[in-house]
């Protein structure tokens, strides 16, 4: 399996540069009544994605997060254990597609959005979904990959599914247009490069540097991203 695509814009939050627009400024256009619902994770997702959006554009989106708002769910379970009633707001914002929903409301992006919890396929799962949408005829797709550190309660060994920093990466992909031509492919060699939270810093290094390719192994196969020579 091999897919060629064009990488349009991409952005990461926290930003790599110190002169980036501040979080408050990026979120300034969001209505107050909506902004109060944004968790710290939702805020970094918005900050990563906003610079990738064209003004007034409607774009199909693929969100991917290994853990989502697990910290919120965990807090609610503690509340239930204490015999108290859980907050309806906290519940509504803890579901895996909560951030995608808020994003859709904030930007009136009312077309398709998909939210994936990718497991061992890591960031590749969102690319597979996005390639499918492009093959179905969508002109451009927004991919947003995000995770925050796993709550201490959960075991993180022997797995590789958390890092110490939150990270959100947004990118737009298309078949035609301006950007970097890339190739996404399936390969047979196996290994273990961890799940999405561990892969995100590797993706950022790949995008931000001259590095030609990124190869991420799973226990069953591997996925490769290559920048193509123009």
């Amino acid at each position: 399996m091999q897919h060629n695509f064009i990488l349009g814009k991409w952005n990461v939050w926290p930003s790599l540069t110190s002169d980036a627009t501040s979080q408050a400024e990026l979120l300034s256009s969001i209505p107050k009544m909506l902004k109060r619902r944004l968790s710290p994770l939702a805020r970094i997702v918005f900050c990563a994605a906003i610079p990738c959006l064209e003004e007034h554009s409607k774009i199909p989106a693929v969100f991917s997060s290994t853990h989502g708002e697990l910290a919120k769910s965990f807090k609610m379970m503690e509340v239930i254990e204490a015999g108290e009633e859980i907050s309806p707001t906290a519940f509504s914002l803890s579901v895996h597609n909560a951030i995608a929903g808020l994003f859709s409301m904030a930007y009136e992006n009312k077309i398709q959005s998909t939210v994936i919890a990718p497991g061992e396929e890591g960031i590749a799962a969102a690319f597979i979904e996005a390639m499918g949408l492009l093959d179905e005829g969508e002109k451009q797709v927004l991919i947003v990959l995000y995770d925050e550190p796993l709550v201490d309660f959960y075991p993180d060994k022997p797995y590789q599914l958390t890092v110490n920093e939150s990270c959100a990466v947004a990118l737009t992909v298309s078949k035609k247009g301006a950007g970097i031509p890339m190739c996404f492919s399936y390969q047979n060699n196996t290994g273990d490069d961890g799940e999405q939270p561990v892969q995100l810093p590797l993706l950022v290094d790949f995008l931000a540097s001259q590095q030609d390719s990124l190869l991420l192994h799973t226990p069953r196969h591997s996925w490769c991203w290559e920048k193509q020579q123009v």
């Binding site: 107050k32 009544m33 109060r36 009633e85 907050s87 309806p88 707001t89």
Partner: protein
């Protein structure tokens, strides 16, 4: 203005993450939902829970006139006070 109304305004600010408002910003007669303060259905559930916890008053959507009770701070205060009187 009744104490209950002020208490409710503070409760609304605290439980609905409206920290940039103060009780002076909320008019007791103003609509809480939609065009007024701008609360939504999730806020209604959250506020119902907060009222149950604080005043031990349950607003039952099968038997109470929920739309009118939640119309404004004044109507909510009136409902809670009458429920408390009924229990005494």
């Amino acid at each position: 203005m009744s104490n209950m109304e002020n208490e409710l305004k503070q409760l609304i600010i605290d439980c609905l993450d409206l920290e940039d408002l103060s009780i002076e910003d909320i008019n007791s007669e103003e609509a809480l939902f939609n065009e007024g303060l701008g609360l939504d259905s999730i806020d209604a559930l959250e506020l119902g829970l907060a009222i149950r916890k604080k005043y031990d008053v349950r607003i039952d959507q099968d038997k109470d006139d929920v739309v009118n009770i939640f119309a404004s701070v004044a109507s909510l205060a009136q409902f809670i006070e009458s429920e408390q009187m009924r229990k005494v």
